[in-house]
């Protein structure tokens, strides 16, 4: 797209515009009140308008001059890293910290371009012992160690 001279600014500006519109739109459900007695909608409205203005300025700046491209997004690290912790959140209460830790380490390690499965399993087991020792035994955090059926 030839008219975008500074892609980073252009897209960042659009992001802020979107956020501003979102804030104004959702915030319109809250009582605005008056300047002297501000309702819950007053401050979000100010912020939304400011974001809209700033976003427009930033986007406009993106149409002039020249700037770096937005770096390509390699999806594997993002998906695997975020996926592994979300998965951990889903399973830890059900199957306990020990096994969840091994799974988290195994999945997370796969995000690296130098993934070594055996090494990851060993690291997972060691870290499982460590995290159970530190967090459950040591700091008394409320986390099950083993799956429900064994309790």
């Amino acid at each position: 797209m030839g008219f975008i001279k500074q892609p980073k600014d252009f897209w960042a500006g659009l992001l802020f515009i979107g956020l501003g519109i979102f804030a104004i739109w959702v915030g319109s459900n809250y009582t605005l009140g008056s300047a002297a007695r501000m309702g819950p909608g007053y401050f979000p409205r100010i912020l939304g308008i400011l974001l809209l203005v700033l976003g427009t300025l930033i986007t406009a700046r993106g149409l002039r001059g020249h700037g770096d491209r937005v770096p390509a997004w390699k999806w594997r690290p993002t998906l695997v890293v975020l996926g592994s912790v979300v998965l951990f959140g889903f399973i830890v209460a059900k199957i306990g910290l020990a096994i969840s830790t091994v799974i988290l380490i195994l999945v997370a390690s796969a995000a690296s371009h130098e993934f070594r499965p055996k090494e990851a399993i060993v690291a997972g087991v060691l870290l499982a012992a460590l995290s159970v020792g530190v967090f459950v035994v040591g700091l008394h955090l409320q986390l099950p160690i083993w799956p429900e059926f064994s309790r």
């Binding site: 600014d9 960042a12 992001l15 008056s34 912020l47 770096p71 912790v85 995000a111 995290s131 700091l139």
Partner: protein
């Protein structure tokens, strides 16, 4: 005399065995993450916050503070031995520190960094103790209008001195303010931006935001690039300085301490800015600048003293005014709030043990660092040989456990993952995450003060301009923006930040 009494009280608290222990844990962890590239103090503090619920607030704060200044010590080790900044504040230490290591003077460089940091830490601790009382007394006279303007000045100052585009940084602040007010509105009880999700009615947790933006996003960006690390030397011998080296280093230490102490207090200041400023000054003042970049000991002594002084004096605005000036201080606000302490000038009078104990603990912590770190350097070097592919899954694990145990719900992890995604997006679009975090923690306070000020003035917004202190602060904020927007200064600023990267 009063100062002496305060310090006595502080040391009485800081030297309690339990606080000594948490201080030690803090500085050791700080050194550890300082040594390890790819994880910084913000993410570490976020990770550890949940484990401090059960502690006394003072013990928790002592530990978390130790992480910040401990990281300054650790960062220099990696910079000198690996030519890679363990922390952003030790970027300039790479330049000459690593050259010294290549010449076989690694021991001298490490000793300079440690001793310079200790000296700076001592001076900074005394400075905090000295200015705390007058500043707090001044702040106690502030009404809501003054507080609102102070926050505006603090936020603007924080982005002016930070790198990157000013417009984008201000937009990030506003986005942060907006995220900060998610949840139940204290005045009306209205649920704002909660979308019927019960976990959101208490607001978004600072732990999740910080860990997502600074922890996860950092790991993901690191994984996208292929990093390589090489140790300059695995053997460090002679951890001491020759007479000539000592003579060359100490004036730089003094100057670095002075620069760091001043820049640390300014909004947006802290460890990183201080170290850059100090390096520039040393280079300008040197009788023979050609030695810089080739292993000049002043290039290590100055910045390393400055970053430690700056790290510590950046506590001054937080402790006396309740205003965080950088992302680490924003985390300290989060920590205080979790322990039901409203940061601000009243902390000193309502919680003197905590206030002076925290200050005294900084000196104690610095002493621990200098005593422990020099002999422990070989252990830190071993840690550096752990490859990143094994390190980051462990960091993720501790993050996941930390976030999960805040409320024992999966919702927090999902939120953190969301902020991790946003963090990567922001980095790709060239938006700094630190202003967002600052806005996030200040959001509720800013709204509250705006409301009160406008209520008192019966809806007249000129109250911010007719009250002299408030007007002065707003004028200063506008002036800062104008100065930065002037073409000449903008160019030099861009050049200055180019040199950083």
């Amino acid at each position: 005399m009063e100062l002496l009494n305060h310090l006595m009280l502080g040391f009485g608290v800081a030297l309690l065995p339990i606080n000594l222990m948490y201080g030690l844990i803090g500085v050791l962890l700080g050194t550890l993450i300082g040594v390890l590239p790819g994880i910084g103090p913000v993410a570490t503090i976020a990770m550890l916050l949940p484990t401090t619920y059960a502690l006394q607030p003072v013990s928790a704060l002592i530990m978390l503070a130790g992480i910040y200044y401990g990281a300054q010590y650790g960062g220099s080790t990696t910079a000198i031995l690996l030519n890679m900044p363990g922390e952003s504040s030790s970027v300039v230490t790479c330049l000459d520190g690593h050259q010294m290591a290549l010449k076989g003077q690694a021991g001298a460089a490490l000793a300079t960094a440690a001793l310079g940091s200790f000296f700076a830490g001592t001076v900074a601790t005394m400075l905090i103790a000295g200015v705390a009382v007058p500043l707090s007394e001044l702040a106690l006279k502030f009404g809501p209008a003054e507080y609102f303007s102070l926050m505006v000045l603090g936020l603007i100052g924080a982005v002016v001195l930070a790198s990157g585009s000013l417009l984008k940084a201000i937009a990030m602040i506003i986005a942060g303010l907006l995220m900060g007010i998610v949840g139940t509105d204290v005045n009306s009880g209205t649920q704002r931006f909660a979308f019927g999700i019960p976990e959101l009615s208490d607001g978004i947790g600072v732990v999740g935001v910080a860990m997502g933006l600074f922890g996860f996003a950092e790991i993901i960006t690191n994984l996208e690039s292929t990093m390589k690390r090489e140790l300059a030397t695995s053997k460090v011998s002679g951890l001491w300085l020759t007479k000539a080296q000592f003579k060359a280093a100490w004036p730089a230490v003094l100057r670095g301490t002075g620069i760091g102490s001043v820049l640390g207090i300014l909004p947006g200041g802290g460890a990183m800015l201080s170290s850059f400023a100090s390096y520039t000054v040393e280079k300008k003042l040197a009788s023979d600048a050609s030695g810089f970049g080739k292993g000049a000991i002043q290039g290590v002594a100055g910045p390393e003293s400055a970053n430690n002084a700056g790290a510590q004096t950046s506590f001054i605005p937080l402790l006396t005014l309740g205003i965080p000036e950088n992302a680490v201080m924003a985390m300290m606000v989060g920590a205080m709030t979790i322990h039901n302490i409203q940061p601000g000038p009243q902390v000193m009078t309502s919680n003197p043990g905590l206030f002076w104990g925290l200050i005294a603990s900084m000196w104690v912590g610095n002493l621990m660092l200098v005593v422990l770190n020099l002999p422990m350097i070989s252990i830190w070097i071993k840690l550096l040989t752990v490859p990143y592919r094994m390190l980051y899954p462990a960091i993720l694990l501790f993050c996941a456990i930390g976030v999960y145990t805040v409320n024992n719900t999966n919702m927090d992890i999902m939120l953190t993952a969301f902020f991790g995604f946003m963090g990567v997006l922001f980095m790709k679009l060239g938006c700094e995450p630190a202003p967002l975090l600052l806005g996030f923690v200040l959001g509720p306070m800013m709204e509250e003060n705006l409301r009160r000020a406008m209520l008192l003035s019966r809806g007249d917004p000129t109250t911010f301009l007719t009250r002299p202190i408030s007007a002065a602060m707003l004028a200063a904020a506008v002036l800062l923006v104008v100065i930065i927007a002037l073409p000449n200064i903008r160019k030099t600023r861009e050049v200055a930040f180019q040199e950083e990267t």
